[in-house]
Symmetry: C2
Subunit: 436 residues, 2 copies
């Protein structure tokens, strides 16, 4: 039975262990946190809710957890835009009522780890912080002096992966970590006086304000978690919000709707951390006996809600590669790395573009006119014209294809808006160009 | 007297120490190698000769070393192109006989370190390998257990800088290290039977072969050092050159001229290392009490011969910044970092483009036709139309300007080649657009 070490028992590590558990592998998951079934997970400064969509659901279906998770998930059918005027407008994510799901990171992680207890060939080693690794011998060393060695090593330990770190010490490993100028801070919105959600829970709430924005996702306990995305430095920035009066004034000016329902936002603002937003891109993902996967290989900004979804899809695709090379794990690693990277490069790009869209374009007239045209095109030819957002969120078409198709659509929408093309001509041209 | 630690006593660290030695600083240079005045420097796998041009000369002039170095430098007035047919053609670097200079890395480094012995306020600590640093307290720790602490710390310790490494452990430090698919290997060409250079020593010899190339620079002892740039993997690659017969056949096919004068190339090929080619881009360069400079901040590929020249120019610009803020070292660091980065980004881009030009375009007909037109333009208006190569190599115009001007020139040359513009019109348009 080949032995595999999975570094990290977070979302991607635990999902991968679940998927591989059914193959003939002996799996050791090395996790730095405490055993949550003893003491619970408590993580400050990590995003506490996530938007699960089709790619993520597929992985949950693969391991039969989708029903159980559904009872902990809240469907969001579109964006509720909170304008500066306090008007709210609703933009559905699809014309056929498809939803993304607000789920709690902790709940999902616990479900995944709990399911691993059913497998005798899987051991999760808690409180083992990896301090070094040898990617050529598949060996890791932990802070408390343990050494684990296996036939293969998979680094699923996040954007600041210790395994990624070991890759950077080898020659010809290209590595980029980039931060954007914005940071984020989480704030809470309690239930209303009747114990109910203060807003429609079946929407992702957005306050787009050009250079910055606030969003809010519903939680099962009738609260919302709001996240402010704001420049670290500059005219309107975290740096400028240096005392309670300034924070209060800033929120009253830009987020009046929010201020009305978030009684503790000022004190929370100073209690909660301001976190940075970075991305990781590197190559190769596979070297020696070791593979990087999930955020360790391709961390992205959160604005398309695809970080976890892309990581879960990695697990499905890696399983396919292993099934195609049952006798050669390393060939599977190589095929996975080569075929998957162009897709994660594409979602990295899309996630940055969606930030512009969310904070800015959702109130832009030209953008809204194009969205209106797109809705008509979708009604006319629903099987042909599938918007980019749907391709990314509600399908498993490779991300790189979604990027290409979206760019083609954008050009055609510009043509329709400039009245150079009729709606039918746009559909016809799209059909022809897509098949090229 | 403020105390400054300079990490690294290589070319840039030693140059900076020389320049700052005349200010009222106490300077400690921390160098991992042995004291060369006891045992000499011996470095395997580093490029042993370099092309010094105007930016580098300015720094040498600043410290009065230019005359002494000139006696160790060989002027190269242009490129000697060795065609596959064994013909050699000469492309001058300028119309007025300007040269770049082949110098030995070791000779130059020794001259710089020797000059430091004249200053009582400078100490070079040899055999001190830095293993960690605190960029907020300006403190470094060495492998042998020493700690050095100062008012400010400057990391001039190269592309794999230990100080850069300390920056990567702080939040919001964007860092990219990228490798190109090519590697390089050095090979030697001895003097001929009469003890003279085998080829014209006053040229940089190039064998451009599309995906790969060989270059050769003259040394003072009448030898040449040749460097093969070749893909690591692929059809024609280091990987494929796995035995003596293959190496011999490859060189005979593509570099017959070289084979004739390099009796030991086959054995050297297997004795000498194959080195990778990477670049570093990062931000910010200044944080806490620490500044990155030279390759530690902006390593580039060697194809424009500007790595050392850019690092030396860094030292001159940092001195200017320190002179403008005599009471605030850190303000000077900040101004240096903000103003210099766009220029080193530009030379990084230009260096990659010059690789394409050197290995490929120097034999391309369209490229040669444009070069011919450019020579005519330079003759017509020598004070107006200064080619990009000259701006980079023979001037101190900021690299970002050289990049912009070159792109403008390239467009105008295309227009002249397509007969949309006369030569005079190109000059006039260039004048007008440059002033915009």
């Amino acid at each position: 039975m080949p032995k595999i070490i999975i570094a990290g028992g977070g979302l991607v590590g635990a999902m991968l262990a679940n998927i591989l558990a059914e193959s003939s592998f002996e799996i050791h998951v090395i996790e730095k946190r405490h055993n949550p079934f003893v003491s619970g997970f408590q993580e400050k400064g990590r995003s506490i809710n996530l938007a699960l969509s089709t790619r993520g659901w597929h992985a949950l279906q693969r391991i039969g957890l989708e029903r159980e998770l559904l009872s902990h998930a809240i469907p969001m059918y579109g964006r509720a835009i909170h304008h500066l005027s306090n008007e709210i407008s609703f933009q559905p994510y699809s014309i056929d009522n498809q939803a993304i799901y607000s789920v709690s990171r902790n709940t999902l992680n616990l479900l995944l780890l709990k399911r691993l207890q059913n497998f005798s060939n899987v051991v999760v080693h808690y409180q083992k912080k990896i301090v070094s690794a040898d990617i050529f011998t598949a060996e890791v060393h932990t802070e408390c002096g343990d050494t684990f060695k296996a036939d293969a090593l998979i680094g699923a330990d996040g954007a600041f992966s210790s395994i990624q770190q070991a890759f950077t010490k080898t020659d010809r490993f290209s590595f980029c970590r980039k931060y954007i100028s914005h940071g984020y801070k989480e704030l809470s919105i309690p239930p209303d006086s009747r114990g109910d959600f203060v807003w429609n829970p079946n929407a992702l709430h957005i306050f787009p304000r050009k250079r910055f924005m606030l969003i809010a996702l519903p939680n099962c306990n009738k609260t919302f978690t709001a996240t402010l995305f704001l420049d670290f430095e500059g005219e309107e920035s975290f740096e400028k919000l240096s005392d309670e009066a300034k924070v209060s004034a800033f929120f009253k000016t830009y987020f009046e709707d929010f201020v009305r329902v978030a009684p503790n936002f000022v004190s929370e603002f100073f209690e909660n951390p301001t976190s940075s937003l970075g991305m990781v891109s590197c190559e190769p993902w596979y070297r020696g006996k070791t593979l990087l996967i999930g955020d360790a290989a391709h961390a992205i900004v959160p604005f398309y809600g695809q970080g976890m979804n892309a990581g879960f899809e990695d697990c499905l695709i890696l399983e396919e590669c292993l099934q195609k090379s049952p006798c050669d794990i390393f060939k599977a690693f190589q095929v996975f790395a080569d075929s998957r990277k162009p897709d994660t490069d594409a979602i990295a790009e899309l996630a940055m573009r969606n930030f512009i869209e969310m904070r800015d374009l959702v109130t832009d007239e030209r953008f809204l006119a194009k969205k209106q045209i797109e809705r008509e095109l979708v009604k006319m030819a629903p099987d042909v014209w599938i918007p980019q957002y749907s391709l990314v969120t509600f399908s498993r078409i490779p991300y790189r294809k979604a990027l290409e198709i979206g760019e083609l659509q954008d050009k055609l929408l510009d043509e329709v808006l400039s009245q150079n093309l009729s709606l039918w001509q746009a559909v016809e041209q799209f059909k022809n160009l897509r098949t090229c």
